[in-house]
């Protein structure tokens, strides 16, 4: 009662169906190439148009290669899907940021950085990591393709209202501890189904102290604890980030918007269906050892004795062992989780003055062209180049290996992405999820390393 989630949700209710779901109005729909073609097909089959095309933005990201984007995509199946999005957007009158468009990138990186995702909005996309946009103070969640079609057709969706949960992290984050570590820590405590059925509000001094990039990382991973979405009440950090961005309100509209956004907070008397609280001092740099994101531990910890044998066999690990010093093969920096400027700064801070280890193949993939431009403007590309790393072109890349960036079977990938499921980064690939700092430490040493030992 009287939570920020209630406020935003309730202000978007068009109708309540008796003994049924809520008809919820959607302010922003994003479409990528993978989960939208069948929805557009459905629209054609029904002979209908989009009700509010101006609220819908499309861009390919999952299939895009991370090199030579100015040339046609080599994989004909990927090309067909990317082309279909462009054609569908044109047919239905929707804005489309195609490959090589300076506005292109991973949808969950582009939305916030262009000012398309704003506080108080309801935001959906056929992608579970839509929870990312919650960092702006919005109610944002992933949906299926049938639901994409609902929004294309009616700008509404039918949903049961989830329960609300507050996760507070109080105190100061320690050396080498990032938003990614906070999320991996929460997941390791809650498990991957611990927040199923809930919408999460992140709060507490450690969350407040996060930059927008950090908040986007934290909210991104809400789905990995089972939550439908997660958000952070907007504050000065949020307003500062949004101000001046391309699609953000300007002039008088800006003042009015901020005035409204300042009201977007849970009441002091707010009652959540569930509350959990963690102490920031308990969180260290984290790494996963298993085959779901809840299977994480402190980087200097040991694999729990009760770990499922199926996971251990897949990963080639044993219960009770430490991962420090284990040789690795690939490092992936990027994805909607950690493909933002702050992530590249963090990686570069470790790489600076060091060299990439010879046994490591590293893929550094910015989340968008805007991020890539900023990397170059700050000279981080030079720092990384001197250390033996190259910056690729933006896209989802090795997070789910729908393009050519696949980790070979049996190889270890230290990855800043969001899922370590069996085969996620390529059939047989073994993924260890971590922060950009942990990834950088592995990249320069060739083994799993506590990044704190490489920091000043």
């Amino acid at each position: 009662m009287n939570t920020l989630f209630d406020k935003i949700w309730d202000s978007h209710v068009v109708s309540l169906i008796e003994d049924g779901p809520t008809q919820l109005y959607i302010d922003r729909l994003y479409c990528h190439e993978v989960t939208s073609p069948q929805a557009f097909d459905g629209m054609r089959a029904r002979g209908i148009k989009c009700l509010r095309p101006e609220k819908i933005f499309c861009m390919p990201d999952h299939n895009t290669p991370t090199h030579d984007q100015d040339k046609p995509i080599e994989d004909p199946v990927s090309k067909k899907q990317v082309d279909a999005l462009e054609r569908n957007a044109a047919e239905f009158g929707l804005t489309h940021f195609g490959m090589m468009n300076p506005k292109n990138g991973i949808i969950h990186v582009v939305g916030p950085e262009r000012g398309l995702s704003l506080p108080g909005m309801t935001i959906v996309c056929g992608d579970s990591h839509t929870s990312t946009h919650g960092a702006m103070g919005a109610v944002a969640f992933g949906i299926g393709t049938s639901e994409v079609e609902m929004v294309l057709a009616s700008q509404c969706i039918l949903q049961q209202k989830p329960k609300s949960m507050r996760i507070s992290v109080e105190g100061e984050l320690g050396k080498g501890v990032t938003a990614k570590d906070v999320a991996l820590y929460i997941m390791s405590k809650l498990t991957t189904s611990g927040a199923t059925g809930y919408f999460v509000e992140y709060a507490g001094s450690a969350v407040r102290s996060l930059s927008m990039e950090g908040r986007l990382t934290l909210c991104n991973l809400s789905i990995e604890m089972g939550a439908r979405g997660g958000f952070i009440a907007p504050d000065e950090t949020t307003f500062e980030y949004i101000k001046g961005r391309e699609y953000a309100p300007k002039g008088e509209d800006w003042d009015k918007a901020v005035e409204y956004w300042k009201t977007l907070r849970s009441g002091d008397d707010a009652v959540f269906d569930r509350e959990v609280c963690y102490d920031a001092a308990d969180i260290t740099p984290m790494i996963t050892y298993g085959t779901n994101p809840g299977m994480g531990m402190a980087i200097d910890g040991t694999i729990p004795a009760d770990t499922a044998k199926k996971s251990l066999d897949y990963m080639g690990f044993q219960a009770g062992e430490s991962l420090l010093g284990k040789s690795i093969d690939y490092v992936f920096l990027g994805a909607c989780t950690n493909g933002r400027i702050e992530d590249f700064r963090a990686f570069a801070s470790i790489a600076k003055g060091r060299r990439k280890a010879d046994n490591v193949t590293a893929w550094l993939v910015p989340g968008s062209w805007m991020v890539k431009e900023q990397i170059e403007a700050e000279g981080l590309d030079k720092v990384l180049e001197e250390a033996g790393f190259a910056i690729r072109q933006p896209g989802c890349s090795a997070c789910l290996a729908m393009n050519d960036d696949k980790i070979p079977a049996g190889k270890y990938s230290v990855s800043t992405s969001n899922r370590n499921f069996e085969g996620r980064q390529g059939p047989g690939a073994r993924t260890l999820l971590c922060s950009p700092l942990v990834a950088a430490a592995a990249a320069v040493t060739g083994v799993i390393t506590d990044p704190r030992t490489l920091m000043d």
């Binding site: 779901p21 073609p37 056929g126 089972g226 779901n292 290996a401």
Partner: protein, 204 residues
């Protein structure tokens, strides 16, 4: 595919694993299709658990075992029984298309991930949530007798293990039940709501 629900009585395929994520149900490389070809997705259901890298069936996976390899048809293997937290991870509706395409009408588990549960319902696959006890007993029943049947009575909202006679009621809201019994989907409903949507927009 839109189809009416009534009473389904069938043998089951057991998958007693927890946290089965949608990347396992349908790996990402099969998401490149631009059409909703349920046969294609059904053929690739649990692809990397069912087949090795040379596309040969893996003998130890339940779908390939003699008792369970028969494709679903009326009364046969129309029900998938899965461990808790089924369908976690990616929102890909392709996972629901694969389950529907293989021929399942019902998935029984003690817990479903949110998005996947909606995706099943939107594709006329019924997710039936049962207690941990009911689920454990059902797994034991099927293990003892692979030809054991369950009855899923949608109008009465009751699921029964026909071997032990144990019944449990399951939840489904009145609206969705009406849709399933009459083969209507949410888009049919929403398209009739234009006046309400415009009134909402005007009132903001």
């Amino acid at each position: 595919m839109k189809q009416k629900f009534d009473i389904i009585q069938s043998t089951c395929i057991p998958l007693p694993l927890e946290n089965v994520d949608t990347d396992q149900i349908i790996p990402a490389r099969f998401l490149k299709a631009t059409t909703r070809d349920e046969k294609f997705f059904g053929d690739n259901l649990f692809r990397d658990w069912r087949f090795d890298k040379d596309d040969q069936p893996k003998a130890d996976f339940v779908f390939n075992q003699p008792d369970f390899c028969q494709a679903p048809s009326e009364g046969v293997h129309q029900v998938l029984v899965a461990g808790k937290n089924f369908g976690s991870g990616s929102s890909r509706e392709h996972a629901a298309w694969a389950i529907a395409g293989y021929g399942f009408r019902v998935v029984i588990s003690s817990f479903f991930a949110d998005i996947h549960k909606n995706n099943e319902l939107n594709n006329f696959v019924l997710p039936v949530v049962v207690s941990e006890d009911f689920l454990a007993e059902l797994f034991a029943t099927i293990k003892a007798d692979p030809s054991a049947q369950v009855k899923v009575d949608v109008p009465a909202q009751v699921v029964t293990n026909l071997t032990t006679g144990r019944s449990e009621s399951f939840e489904i809201n009145g609206y969705k039940k009406y849709c399933l019994l009459n083969a209507l989907d949410d888009i049919d409903y929403l398209l009739e709501q234009k006046a309400k949507i415009e009134a909402f927009e005007a009132g903001r």
